[in-house]
Amino acid sequence: MNMLVYLIPIALFLGGLGLCAFLWSLKSGQYEDLEGASWRMLRDDPPE
């Protein structure tokens, strides 16, 4: 029972971290060109 006091906040924090990561990736436009991204990773020259 006492463990729950630590475990539940940890679980929520980790979940929240994932949520924030997703919202950040959405905001920074990483889902805007999925087709282009799949080509870009095959490119040899260094990204600018």
Partner: protein
């Protein structure tokens, strides 16, 4: 198409946006920085990205450039000044064309609002998904035996997670439900909003009183599932819209005005007033209606009457906005302002015609019309029965909430969008774009198909007929002359000859007549019969789109005959549609004999010739009054009112902007096979949606009595809801498995062709 090799397809036959036009269309993003978004419809692979970005980033004025392959767009941030010189944005376009040979053009930037809503929805899905997963974890602990204070703690945590998710994710449903209720109607969102609110309130009350059951998990996972449905519905609409506007060739944003003193000034189209003199070079579109003052040219008037034969114009002739000058430059006196021009007239005709379509109610909304009152009555009845008979009003409240949760319209809210998204994805793979889900529902009901002629049943491009009967030497001569012209017949001639062509050094184009070149051997002329033979030939008067004569010093060398090319598969498509019991017909603005000839050849049931845009629309409405559901397939501006008036409409990608905007479906390939394919898939999608409704009703018949009897614990509600959602989604996915037929053609190829012809 060979992939994006430099100069692979040097298609300079379309006018590129001018420097002034680009500047007008760009927006300021920082001090001295401007952003321009260009549409490059032919971009299709990684090499294209590299080629374009390398070319653009190499330019001194470019701050940064990025290609978006999904949207087929290039976003360029450029500096207004390089050093002390003002930068010329026209190089941006020439750089793209130079690097890839693809056209780049401006497009109407108008769907930003839609993008915002989509982002909001996705964020709401993420938040409610996070909440649902965490609450479900806590609920599982409760179900597996957490008791007393532990259970209360878990319930409290759940309540705290659920509250923000409900406000953040539920607002879409609350807003829509409120709008419906205020208008005295009810829609699908009313039972949804009611169920999530009531179940949350009751669970909170239970939690405060150390109750055993709380429905936080059901509340939030319901919200999560329904938000997914809502988002899918939106994404589908948005993607098609983006792809269609990406193709759009904008009507000119401005024009070069000639002042009284002969000065030239580039002005936005809204600032043109009647009486202004406008200079139009070969390859430019006419910005407003006007009268020719000086100059002569061949005009591409396909935007007005749908026919591809150019019309020669001379001083004094009327010109409509949107027509394209092919061969000569003109000075025009504007007779109307932009908002009163021909284009605006067509648009108002379309708006008048659209009434019938606006009245169409979505399948899900029609179902909700019966569903939501039934659900509310049932919940109310359960509440009253348990209250009066059992006497325990708290228990009565819990039962009616269980009924609301169990019956919540997952099948309607989730399965319809899922089926339609899967169907739209399949159509997309076959080069067909759907504007929205209701288009598929309407297409399913169609029982008559009407086609436009030029550009729809035919490709609207002339084809050289008698190529076998002409000497190769003469072909090479004619093609050598023809490459110098933009006239459609010249282009067809130049395309038809694959071998080497004779090089002419100086070629003069006489607008409305033809081409002329003086060589040591004599004067070669290629053009209409009158011009080429420098004298009237009474026997066979040339009529524009049928023949071209090559002559040397006024003596005929060869005559080239042209005909419009029927779209691939036109005949088989008409035959298969008739075989399936559709009535077929053709509505054309062309001459009677030409239309009759083609109608008989293709085996169409009905045909109407020499129709004005208004008559076309009236024909559609008259059929609708006879309770026929008409599918209109057309491309021109003259078809746009009919496209809007028909029950549902399809346009090829080669259609004019307005034609594409008016149509519900747009197909990218040349072949007309897209029409039966779209009908077929829409019917399958409709069948799946009805199957899902049946599944949902069956599920309710089993689950509702359990809820009514008071046995629906949160665990049972959660299981029932998830299984029903998974079943309808799985059923929708069956659409992906079947139907293996696809149109074997290169999408990028026809897209490119489309963009160039548009």
């Amino acid at each position: 198409m060979s992939c994006c090799a430099p100069g692979a397809e040097g298609s300079f036959d379309r006018p590129l946006p001018s420097s002034a036009e680009l500047k007008l269309a760009s927006r300021i993003v920082g001090p001295g920085l401007r952003q321009t978004d260009l549409s490059v419809p032919q971009v299709h692979c990684g090499t294209c990205i590299t080629a374009i970005e390398k070319a653009l980033n190499g330019l001194p004025l470019v701050e940064r450039a990025r290609v978006n392959l999904s949207m087929k767009r290039v976003t360029i941030i450029w500096k207004e000044k390089v050093g002390n010189e003002p930068a010329d944005p026209a190089i941006l376009i020439t750089a793209i064309v130079g690097a890839t040979g693809y056209d780049a053009h401006l497009f109407a930037n108008m769907e930003d609002a839609g993008d915002m809503l989509q982002r909001d929805l996705i964020r709401a899905v993420a938040v409610s998904g996070f909440a649902a997963a965490n609450i479900m974890l806590l609920s599982v602990s409760v179900w597996s035996g957490a008791e007393a204070s532990t259970r209360d703690l878990f319930h409290w945590i759940s309540a705290m997670i659920a509250a923000p998710a409900l406000i953040y994710g539920g607002r879409f449903f609350y807003q829509s439900a409120w709008k419906a209720l205020r208008g005295g109607r009810t829609n699908m969102d009313v039972p949804i909003a009611l169920a999530i609110t009531l179940s949350y309130a009751a669970s909170l009350w239970e939690t405060m009183h150390h109750g055993e059951h709380a429905w936080f998990d059901a509340t939030v996972s319901l919200l999560f599932f329904l938000l997914i449905g809502r988002t899918l519905d939106h994404v589908m609409r948005d993607r098609a819209r983006a792809a269609i506007t990406g193709l759009a060739r904008l009507s000119p944003r401005g024009a070069t005005l000639i002042g009284a003193d002969g000065s030239r000034e580039y002005r936005a189209i809204e600032d043109i007033t009647p009486g202004d003199r406008i200079a139009i070079a070969a390859g430019e579109r006419v910005p407003v209606d006007g009268v020719v003052e000086t100059g002569a040219s061949d005009m591409d008037v396909s935007i007005v009457n749908g026919e591809s034969a150019p019309k020669p114009v001379k001083p004094g002739d009327q010109l409509q906005a949107g027509t394209l000058s092919l061969t000569g430059s003109l000075v025009l006196r504007a007779t109307t302002a932009a908002k009163d021009s021909f284009l605006s007239e067509v648009i108002s005709l379309m708006e008048a015609a659209e009434g019938g379509r606006a009245r169409y109610r979505r399948l899900a909304d029609r179902a909700a019309q019966y569903y939501s009152p039934a659900v509310h009555l049932l919940a109310l009845a359960a509440f009253l029965c348990w209250g009066f008979i059992g006497g325990d009003w708290k228990q009565a409240m819990l039962v009616s909430i269980a009924v609301l949760i169990i019956t919540c319209p997952c099948a309607l809210g989730l399965s319809v969008p899922v089926v339609q998204v899967v169907a739209a994805g399949r159509l997309f793979k076959n080069g067909i774009m759907v504007k929205d889900g209701s288009a598929m529902e309407r297409l399913e009901e169609v029982d008559a198909v009407l086609f436009d002629k030029t550009g729809t049943l035919t490709l609207g491009r002339p084809r050289l007929l008698n190529i076998d009967r002409i000497d190769e030497k003469h072909l090479a001569l004619a093609a050598g002359l023809a490459v110098h012209s933009r006239h459609p017949l010249s282009q067809a001639l130049a395309h038809a000859v694959s071998g080497p062509v004779v090089i002419f050094e100086t070629v003069k184009e006489i607008p409305g007549q033809g081409l002329e070149s003086t060589t040591p051997t004599g004067i070669y002329r290629l053009g209409n019969r009158y011009f080429a033979l420098s004298g009237p030939d009474e026997a066979s008067p040339g009529n524009g789109l049928s023949e071209t004569v090559l002559s040397l010093d006024g003596r005929e060398i060869a005559t080239f005959r042209f005909d419009d090319m029927p779209r691939p598969g036109a005949q088989s498509v008409v035959a298969s549609l008739s075989a399936k019991g559709f009535e077929t017909g053709m509505l054309s603005g062309d001459r009677r004999e030409v239309v009759a000839n083609l109608a008989i050849r293709l085996g169409l049931h009905h045909w109407q010739a020499e129709l004005s845009p208004k008559q076309k629309a009236q024909f559609c409405t008259s059929l609708a009054e006879k309770d026929r559901k008409v599918l209109m397939v057309g491309d021109g501006i003259n078809d746009a009112p009919a496209l809007a008036a028909a029950h549902v409409s399809i346009a090829p990608a080669t259609a004019t902007d307005i034609g594409r905007q008016a149509a519900d479906f747009v197909f990218m390939h040349d072949s007309l096979e897209a029409v039966p394919l779209a009908i077929d898939l829409s019917r399958r999608a409709g069948r799946l949606i009805r199957e899902n409704f049946a599944l949902a009703i069956g599920y309710n018949i089993v689950a509702v009595p359990i809820a009514l009897a008071g046995y629906a614990t949160p665990l049972i509600a959660a299981i029932a809801m998830s299984t029903s959602s998974i079943i309808v989604v799985a059923n929708a996915m069956r659409l992906n498995g079947a139907l293996t037929k696809s149109v074997p053609s290169n999408a990028a190829q026809s897209l490119g062709e489309g963009a160039r012809l548009a």
